[in-house]
Point group: C2
Chain length 249, copies 2
């Protein structure tokens, strides 16, 4: 079994290393990851400039690009074999609810999916004192299951692991994507030369308390596994009884 | 009516100007757009550095960031009013099928949607000799209809206009997101100093010929309007008869 590992926290992240170690029991692990932190890069793809690659160890390559770049390069010949599985993470911080739209971790797994390979994104729901042990162990167990059973075409799994140690965890749940509440906050300040600048922030105001969502499962102490797909179509809108009408031309 | 206009081709794009002109008949247009080309930036958000803003004309602001940054800044007080509608475009080139995952144009509309405002993304399916007239006119007609009728919560419209002049167009169709075929191509070369570099390409190999998709509608000469939403959950996976099992811990 060949496993491609990537992330958005960069090649030096302890979360990446923990994931690599856990997956080595399942097969040959190849890592292609950004050479620096690439948080909130979403599915950005670098087309306007060339990319550089440097070796960061045996079967470990660092790219000066986005998570999506890394997976695309890896599958275009940068690693000598075609992987059976792509695993992205372990992200330092949650990728829950509609936040995943911004996530580089999830995007690496989406790119794997678009290129036809079963893919998993793994995140640790913590903001400090990261302990990756339970997340890495669950990721390996899930990866083994996915390699055995496969995933439906175009579907990836988005995993969020609560910060508790394994013995305090209740288990895992299949979930749907929830909705997070944010206060839109942009800080406006003046630089030392007297010119204005803006810095995007955003206070976390919690999440919609809807049963069955990733946010609620993690809050209750479960590992959340959300099946995602790359079809953004709102099919319900298409099948509405009173369709959207507009006379044109 | 207040309309926020953005794009990913940058503040100087003729597509943006054509859209602004067409929408001025409907209300007060405010533009907040990237100060340069931001193609394939997807939903990337700039959190690691401050953003600069400069005036590019009356009610026209340029930001040194991504399309998502522009919409977020605009709605956090950069423009003095809350828009009733966000329109992104007119993009120079298609945003069809799973390509929209990479699209900055679509992401500006997704950001508007996440922030609770009805949003539309508009693209011209052309690669040269861009004539924006029909696309701009249709965008304005659709925008008027959306402002009158609204959109379901969390839903945006992704519009792709064929390159033909209006008189040759057959009309428009509600569609679902199709699938494009690409050959993954990365060019490997050596720079003047003898070091390797990689450049992401990707030949277009057409699209899956499935009825009802955006790709097929545009190919047949129709304007495609695809309702998208921000829920990536694969609900069919969740309701499968034989669920995904894994014993853990």
């Amino acid at each position: 079994m060949i496993i491609l590992v990537s992330n958005d926290d960069g090649i030096d992240s302890e979360g990446l290393v923990a994931l690599e170690e856990a997956l080595k029991n399942l097969g040959e692990v190849h890592t292609v990851a950004p050479d620096r932190v690439q948080n909130s890069m979403s599915h950005a793809l670098t087309l306007h400039r060339p990319l550089r690659v440097h070796e960061a160890g045996p079967r470990r390559l660092a790219v000066d690009g986005t998570p999506t770049d890394c997976v695309k390069l890896a599958l275009s010949g940068l690693i000598p074999v075609r992987p059976d599985l792509v695993v992205s993470g372990i992200n330092k911080g949650p990728n829950l609810g509609d936040d995943i739209i911004y996530s580089g971790t999830v995007s690496a797994a989406i790119e794997g999916t678009l290129l036809g390979i079963p893919s998993i994104a793994v995140s640790l729901v913590s903001f400090r004192d990261f302990v990756f042990e339970a997340a890495a162990e669950f990721a390996a167990a899930l990866a083994a299951r996915v390699m055995e059973k496969g995933l439906p075409k175009g579907t990836l799994l988005n995993v969020n692991v609560p910060p508790e140690p394994k013995r305090e965890m209740k288990g895992w749940k299949l979930t749907r994507m929830g909705k997070r509440h944010y206060k839109e906050e942009v800080v406006e300040r003046v630089d030392p030369r007297g010119r204005k600048y803006y810095w995007i922030g955003g206070d976390d105001l919690g999440y919609a308390e809807e049963d069955g969502t990733d946010c609620v499962a993690v809050h209750e102490g479960y590992i959340s596994v959300t099946p995602l797909h790359v079809d953004l179509t709102n099919h319900r809108f298409l099948s509405e009884v009173t369709p959207f009408t507009l006379r044109w031309p």
